[in-house]
Symmetry: C2
Subunit: 209 residues, 2 copies
Amino acid sequence: MVVKLTYFAMPGLGEPIRLMLAVTKTEFEDIRVGKEEWQKLKPTLKLPYLPMVEMDGKTLFQSMAVCRHIARKAGLYGSSEDEALEIDVTVDTLEDMRKHTVSHYYQPDSEERDQGMKKSVDVTIPFFLKLFDKQLEENKGYLVAGKLSWADILFLSHCDYLSSLFHVDILADFPKLKEYQQKIADLPGIKEWLEKRPPTPEDCRIFFS
Amino acid sequence: MVVKLTYFAMPGLGEPIRLMLAVTKTEFEDIRVGKEEWQKLKPTLKLPYLPMVEMDGKTLFQSMAVCRHIARKAGLYGSSEDEALEIDVTVDTLEDMRKHTVSHYYQPDSEERDQGMKKSVDVTIPFFLKLFDKQLEENKGYLVAGKLSWADILFLSHCDYLSSLFHVDILADFPKLKEYQQKIADLPGIKEWLEKRPPTPEDCRIFFS
């Protein structure tokens, strides 16, 4: 049975799973819902959020849990408990970078929103990127243990998503991270997905407003 | 070397780690900081948040990543990839219950805060508890696979924390969850920790206001 992924027509928390499926060459049906479809679908679900993934005979919620599952099966979760720990810390820190910034983005238009978005781009995102830049240096071109893990896929997904939301290349001042992002984007499976995926809407708030 | 855990003098995101150390009978130094100590400590850290854990020769941040690490080493992360997946989904859902409610609690006094807290207690928390109640029924007295996992420890931690914050027993209307919470609280290691730990402050906002 082909994997089915249901999410909004944007990157968000669906894209990490899409990229994990792409890098593991797993065929999937990319079901994208708009605001009205979502309002109808929401009350029928066990948990009132997306993404929802139908795979391995199960209906799964929770984006990060699904990524962990795919990573474990594909050998992208490190080769030891220590590597798994480093991956988990990195993933949680990438999630922090996302949460502390999109919380401003998904506000209604206001001066407060503008200020929060400016702080995200000028302060919060560079703070986290400096950490990842150092980590890349210490781990021979990947985020953990000098080899590909699902932390690298999440880095690509979140940096790409935040650049889309804030209409700015968040990696512009980080040439090594930029080169590394391109290396991950060029991986077999990922490259084809990035070429064929639909564009991100100009304003991603349309699904929730 | 004894494990050192540095966190605020309250449950929050420190308590899941304290309980994981307690249930695995790991001796630890429970370093509790107040607001002023935190302001001095914050700029010296790699990541500007707590808890910080010194263990296995490393200085670790990210509460959930540290719990996963302890769980893996102690055999509390399931016996198969499928069980690990169920644990991950449960953990993320417990985290959702916490995040969607404490976000209201940690606001300054206002009518909006009162309304958010009321909605947390009357609607949001019961919504999640109904899911866990069903899950308990389906998994023979535990949250996953009929046996103890770190999801059960996180359930105890988060329910206890939310009851403290909102000054109400959030499990009062869920007798089976209440009985189950007591079973986890009575586990060797946990029981001793709960008896000796310092009390939770009346208002946990004191560390951040």
